[in-house]
Every structure is written in C-alpha cells, then in structure tokens.
C-alpha cells in the first residue's frame, strides 16, 4: 500500500498512482520551469557578489523606466476599465433595456478579441488614414495618437473592462430583490437606494474586478508590444521580449530578474484581491428572488450606452476590417478601391497558412491533453482529497496567475539545454509545453466545480459492483462532467489559438502562430496584410464559437463560458 498522503484513507492503489502521476506531470510542466526563473534571478553577479545579478538589474535605468511605465499605464488602464465597467454594468443590470443580450455580448467582446487584434484595430481607427474617422473629417493629423502611454492605457483599459463588468454583474445577480423592495416601502428614492444600499454591496466586487484588471494590464504583452515599442514606451513585458530578442539567451539572467519583478506586482495585486474579497464580503441575510430590473432605461441612457458600446467594440473592428480591404498600405479607403488583394496575398502566403495550421493543432492538442489531465484530477479532488492533491491544486494555478511572458521565459530557461540528449528548444514542443502549463486552469476549474456536484454515491455504487478506477472514470465520472469539460476545452482552444505572449518568445521558423504572424507583419510595416490576417483569425474565432454553440445543444446544462449569466 502507498502512504496516505497520496490520497484519502479510502483511496485504492490505482487512485494513489494517479495522484503521483498528476503530481509528476505538474512538476515537469509548471513547477520546475517556473523554479528556473527564480534560480536564475538569484544568481551571483558577474563579480561574484551574492544576489549581484538582481542588484545590477534592479538598479539599471532601463528597469526603473519600464517599471514606472508599467505602473503608470496599468493604473491608467484600470481607471478606464473601472469607470467604463461600473457605468455599463449598472446601466445594463439595473435598468430594463432593449436587446440586452446583444448589448452584453458587445460589452464582453473586447475580452474575446485577442490583444494584438485590439491594438491593431485601434491603430487603424486613429491613424491619419483612418477609414472610419477620415471620411468624417475627424482623423488625427500627423502622428497616430494611439502610439503613446495614454493610447496603451486606453486600449488595455477597454480590453480589460469586461473583467470589471463581469464581477459587478455577478454581484448584481446575487443582489436579493427584497433589499430594494424594503427600501422602496420605506419611501427611499432611487438615487439614494443606488448610493446607500446597492453601491456598498457592490464595492468589494468593483475593487476585486479592478485588481483583476490591474493584474491583466501588468501582464499584457500584445497591446504594449504593438503600441509601446514604436512609441518607445517600454513596459516590463516588452522589455523582457526586447532583451531576449536582442541578446538571446545570454540575457536570460537579467530578464529573469525582470520577470520576478513582474510576477511580484501581479501576485501582490491578486493576493490583495483575495484578501479584500474575504474581508469585505458582505454577508447577505436576504434570500429568495434575485433583483430583476423593472424600470425602463430613459431614452438618453439607451442612446448613450449604445454609442459607447459601438465606439469601444464595433468601430475599431470596423476600421480593421476596412483596412484589410485596401489594395495597399497608405491608400485611403473609398468605395471604389475596395479590393481583396490582401486576402489573396495572405492566403497565398505559405507562412500565413502554416501559422493558421500551427495555431489550430497547437491549441487543439493543448485542449485535448488538458482534458486528459483535468478529468482525473477533478475526480480525485472531489472524491479522494488528500495533501498531495492540495499541493497540486496550488501549483497548477501558478502559470495562469503569473504573466504569460514569465511562463515563456521559464520554458526557455528550463529547456534551453538538451535533457537526456533531447532538445526541444526551437521546436513546436516547447510551445505545447508552455500552453499546457498556462492554460490548464481554464479547463481544470470548471471541471473541478462540476465534480463537486457529482454524487459520491454513484462512484461508490460502481465500486461495490466491482468496477475498476479506469472504468469508473470513463463511464461514471466523465459523463457527469462532460458539459464543463467541453466548455473548458473550447475556452482553451479560443485562448490558445490567438495568443501572442507565449509564442512571441518561443516561436521558431516553421512554428509560427497566428499571433506571431500578425505581430511580424505589422512590425514589417505591412499593416494591411496584418489587418487581413487579424480579420481571418477573428472569423475563425467566431466560427469556433458558433460550432461550440451548435455542439452545446447536445450537452446538458450551460456548457459554454458565455452562457452563464
């Protein structure tokens, strides 16, 4: 018998081996690579001083500048995320309005659209050649104003606004209706109900959403890469990228220190968030029905909210799409020169086609492996919790919590040298490993949550009739969590297919991803081609959404992430 720490007292040997296998997997994929970042950062300096590397890097002027930029643009973006998110969530949540579902979808869209596509869209929207603003005579003259700290903050602020919106919507959906009704019976006017009763209840969620947006902004790579590098506004993520790109793996030491700094900021914000949520959580004595909006929004509010949503979700994408129909860079958009030249060019380009193929199989493979890990893990977590499993639980979250750039660096540090004669550096395998580490929580969390609802008696009944572990996993447990498993797998597909942060550091010729392709086309100045690839990738994303929607009809419950709330 294996010792108890590998599973509860009622766990069989099969279960214990499974726990050990999962532990080794997480060790290899997450813990060991991330550990390399720490080991590297704490190396002695060139002159042999203890922690010299860290001291040198932290005192460098470039570090200070990047840190300051990171904090300034992140805080700026949080202000925008919170302002927009609160206004939109309160309006949509508290007032009745037409086409609320469509409105909600548009509000959440910035979260679905990948960073680099968002950044590209805003570049096209605010360019002097803007296909949207120029016909209105509003296009900025001279330099594009989006290439600036303010521009980065604006685009990141909008991209992360849905995080705040979702947090508030969740809190609002838990708001007991009778709290508002009690206030109305006591003759309290609506503005006062909002200010003195609803806002205090929402405050912890607003704060939590804001901190989440801050963490996302600190770790964002796509927006500062496309906007900040040309504008010479380096932030920590782009500084790491530029150092590694410029100096190669020799810069790894310095870069590891930057990565630690980045991790500290992100993790501090998340810790503060979990602390605040626990401290400020408002225990609700009310129960029963949730609040439902009954007052129609006044006309001006509906017009304003649609204007805002069109501005942040539709106009930039429209600008991007129109740009992709231009015959060449620098040509102004008009009805007469609409052309499919860019699409013909990119679809005839082997590298672009390869990038699409790569992203599809990389994200598909990652989703499949993550499912194979998550289902047994969720089974054990629900039915055979033990100390080792609790340790795994902490470890799997780490690569999702730290910024993606740090995960990519961790993979480089861990797999640069051949291991037992096999080198995966410079192959697609290193990208797969990075994806596996970073995206596992996306499927693990929903499946674990669903597993908690699974009646243990079903498993026990199968045990009584003599069904072995694999049979119980496959035929009793897996069917019970199928909906959340598919939902999580689709979320991984959507996220991994369009990511740039990891592959920007890990790609090699032949192993480009869609994100890398967009980034390099834009970097080369071929913005119309970049726009065309972005539009194609966005269409592919929506196609996957649609396919998932069709598939979800055959699944029990709300399988898809956007079906909840």
């Amino acid at each position: 018998m294996l010792p108890r720490m590998f599973g509860g007292s009622d766990a069989g040997n099969g279960e214990r081996w499974l726990v050990i296998a999962l532990f080794l997997y997480v060790l290899l994929v997450s813990v060991w690579p991330l550990g390399q970042v720490f080991l590297t950062a704490f190396q002695p300096g060139d002159d042999g001083r203890p922690l010299g590397l860290m001291a040198d890097t932290l005192t460098a002027r470039a570090t200070g500048r990047a840190l300051k930029n990171t904090l300034v643009v992140s805080l700026g973006s949080v202000a925008i995320s919170v302002g927009l998110g609160v206004a939109l969530a309160l309006t949509v949540g508290l007032l009745r309005m037409r086409a609320r579902a469509a409105l909600t979808f548009l509000i959440l869209m910035p979260l679905i659209i990948p960073s680099q596509t968002m950044a590209l869209s805003w570049i096209e929207l605010f360019g002097s050649n803007s296909p949207v603003l120029r016909p209105l005579g509003l296009a900025p003259q001279g330099a594009n104003p989006i290439y600036s700290s303010g521009g980065i903050a604006l685009v990141m602020g909008i991209e992360h606004m849905p995080l705040v919106f979702i947090a508030i919507r969740a809190a609002l959906s838990g708001l007991p209706a009778d709290l508002v009704e009690a206030a109305r019976i006591a003759a309290i006017p609506y503005p006062r109900i909002l200010r003195s009763i609803i806002l205090p209840i929402l405050a912890p969620s607003i704060l939590a959403g804001g901190l989440l947006a801050f963490t996302a902004a600190v770790g964002n790579f796509g927006v500062p890469a496309l906007l900040g590098i040309p504008a010479r506004v380096p932030v920590l993520t782009t500084l790491i990228y530029q150092r590694l790109n410029g100096f190669g793996p020799e810069a790894a030491g310095q870069v590891a220190v930057l990565a630690i700094l980045l991790t500290l900021i992100a993790v501090a914000a998340l810790l503060l968030r979990s602390l605040l949520t626990r401290q400020l959580r408002m225990p609700m004595s009310g129960s029963g029905r949730a609040f439902v909006a009954e007052h129609a929004a006044p006309g001006w509010a509906q017009v304003t909210i649609w204007a805002v949503v069109l501005m942040i979700a539709v106009l930039p994408l429209a600008a991007l799409t129109m740009t992709s129909f231009l015959p060449a860079v620098g040509v102004a958009f008009s009805a007469t020169n609409v052309s499919l030249a860019q699409y013909q060019a990119v679809l005839g380009n082997d590298a672009v086609l390869r990038a699409f193929a790569n992203s599809l199989w990389l994200s598909g493979l990652c989703a499949a492996i993550c499912v194979l890990v998550a289902v047994p893990y969720a089974y054990l977590a629900a039915h055979r919790p033990g100390p080792l499993l609790a340790a795994i639980d902490l470890m799997v979250e780490a690569p999702w919590v730290v910024p993606g750039t740090v995960v990519a660096l961790a993979m480089i540090l861990a797999f640069l040298q051949p291991i037992m004669g096999v080198s995966i550096y410079g192959t697609a395998a290193i990208i797969v490993l990075a994806y596996l580490a970073r995206f596992l929580p996306l499927v693990l969390r929903p499946v674990t949550a669903a597993a908690q609802l699974h009646d243990p008696a079903q498993d026990e009944a199968a045990r009584i009739i003599g069904a072995g572990l694999l049979r119980r996993l496959g035929q009793i447990f897996a069917p019970a969590v199928i909906a959340s498993t598919v939902g999580g797998a689709i979320l991984i597909m959507m996220t991994a297919m369009n990511e740039l942060t990891l592959s920007a550091l890990l790609w090699s010729t032949g192993n480009e991803t869609i994100g890398v392709m967009v980034f390099s086309l834009q970097y080369e100045g071929n913005s119309t081609a970049a726009a065309a690839v972005s539009v194609l990738s966005t269409l592919l994303l929506f196609a996957i959404c649609g396919l998932a929607q069709l598939l979800s009809r055959h699944l029990p419950g709300n399988a898809l992430p956007w079906q909840n709330g």
Binding site: A183, S196, M282, S285
Partner: protein, 368 residues
Amino acid sequence: MPHLSLRNISKSFGEQDVLTGIGLELPAGAFLALLGPSGCGKTTLLRLIAGLERPSQGSLWLDGRELAGPSTFVLPEARGLGMVFQSYALWPSMTVQGNVEFGLKVQGMSRSERKARVAEVLATVGLDALADRRPHELSGGQRQRVALARSLALRPRMILLDEPLANLDAHLRQSMLAEFRRLHAATGATFVFVTHDQDEAMAVASHIAVMSQGRIEQVGTPETLYRRPKTAMVARFISHGMTLPVEVTARDGDLCRTLLNGQVLGLPGSAAEGPAWLCLHREDLTIAPAGQGHIRAEVLGQNFRNGRYLTHVTPQGIGADVLSLALDHPVAQGTALHIRIASGWVIARDGGTPVASQGAYLTERVDA
C-alpha cells in the same frame, strides 16, 4: 368606511392566473392573517397591497384613497406602509441602527428626533444593546426584530408581514407571536400577516382570510372559521377539521335534518336539501356505549398528545377514510368503537369526491 378594501382583484403572470376575484374589506386596527397552503397566492396578494406588484384587474383602496386601479397606481414608496420580509431584507452595509434610521433620514427628520425615534423602536423590540451590530452578526430572531423595528420606525398605518416566522425555530416562533400581538396593541396599526400555518394565524389574528388556488375561500374571525366554515376546504384546513359526506333531507329552522349512515341527526348548518358535508372537529366526537352512537369504527392507531390519546379510526360504511378523536385511555389496534356525533356544521356539497379529499388530509392529521 372600511380601512383596507380590495375590490375584485385579479393577478396573472403571463398565462398563469395567480389571484382571481379577490374581494376583502378590513376595519382599521385589524390583525388580518392571509392563510393558505403554499402556492395559493397569499404572498402575491400581500405584494399587491404593498405596491410591489400591480393588479391585472380590480382596485385597491386604503382609507378612501385608490392605491391601485385600472388607471391609478401609487408606487410602493408613496404608500406609507411598513413591511417585514420573509428573509428580513436587512441592508447588509448598515448597522442595526443604520437600518432603522435610514427611512427617517430620507424623510428629512432632524438628527435629534431621529435618535430619539430609533432608540424608542429599538427599545420596543428589545434590541437597544445591539444597535451597532451588523445584520450578519445577529441571530435569526434578532434579525426578525430589526426588520420589525425598521418597519415600525416610520409609524405606518399598516404593516405587512410576509411569512415572518418561516425562518425561525418553533420556540422562537411562540415568543415572536406574542411580540406581534403586543406591538399590534401598542401601535394601533393594521397588521396583515401571511402564513401557511393555521396555528400561527389562530394565535394572533383578529381576522383570517383562508386562501386556496388564488381565491379567498372565507374571511372571518378565528371562531367563525372554526365553527361555521363556508367550504369543505376551510373546514379541513382549520384545526385538523374532518368532513363526512352526508345528505340533508330537510331544513328544520336553523337545523339541517341530516342523513348519516341510515340515521337522521338534527345539526346546525348552512346547507339546503341535497348532498352535503358534515364538518367535524375532534371534540365533536365521543365514544358511545355498545349498540348506540352514529358510526361504527375500528381503531387504526393511537398517539399520546397533550395528555390524551389521539385515536385514529376507520369508520365503516360512510365513505370516509379516517376520523380522529381524543380518548382518555389507550385502546388496542383493531378494537371496534361506537362513535357519537355531539355537534357539527353542515355545508352544501357540489359533486365533491369525498374519498380522495379525505385521503389527502390523512397525512396532515396524523402528522399534527
């Protein structure tokens, strides 16, 4: 002029009719219980009075003012009522004092007046020591008192209580009922109280409206409902009542000549000639010497309750499932008994299905 008047009120949510033809008149200072099984529409009716729902039809008047009608609707904030919610609905971001004070603050009452009023109502409900606590730091009974204090603070003419005791344990329920009676007497306000528990309703109310399937079956004092039920539903719902299918052969002044099991009894009632229900309570049934009595029955089982043996028996040949009566001594299962009907109340029966409805009430009676 009645204080509260509901005139032919109906309410439907989409296709579903929740209330139909509700009519009710209530004098000022009354303590009305809306009593009925769950899903009968009693909470919806309370929410209509509060203004939290709009009637689909009919009108609602308070002290001669139309609060809701075909063309009028006074918003809940303008009705000047108090309400205690089933979940208490205490605002979690405010202290006990803050919860009670908030309505007064909004009305613009001066600080010193407010302080005095809050202290007064908190003392009334016995919570003066807990003024600075937050709702989640209180027990269920204390939350209930805060909710009451909050509704009392504005000195409303009428206080609506939506199943206020549903979340309390049995012991607390008794003391809160006494509290409601005391506050009702002290404030002089009209209380409207929703409950599914007829013991609660009988314990506090001056008037009870028994509801079933969206209609009011009968309104009256507890004694009227007990002694002179209008419908079989009311007869069975109040105090573990029983109904026997009988035939009224003739009326004899106030009495109905009632045919039961081949014998004719003269009993008070409202039924005309024809099929009827004989409504009985446990104390209407006594044991008769062998050969006498109106019904022969066999003992099904007994349980000891309140100092007597509650005895369930199967009557023979009268189309009823089970009757219950209280005896002073234990009797073996299967013993044959002769039962005498000492009194009762006879109401008309319109093609009812006695066996099924008796069966449905068996569980309630045995559990009680």
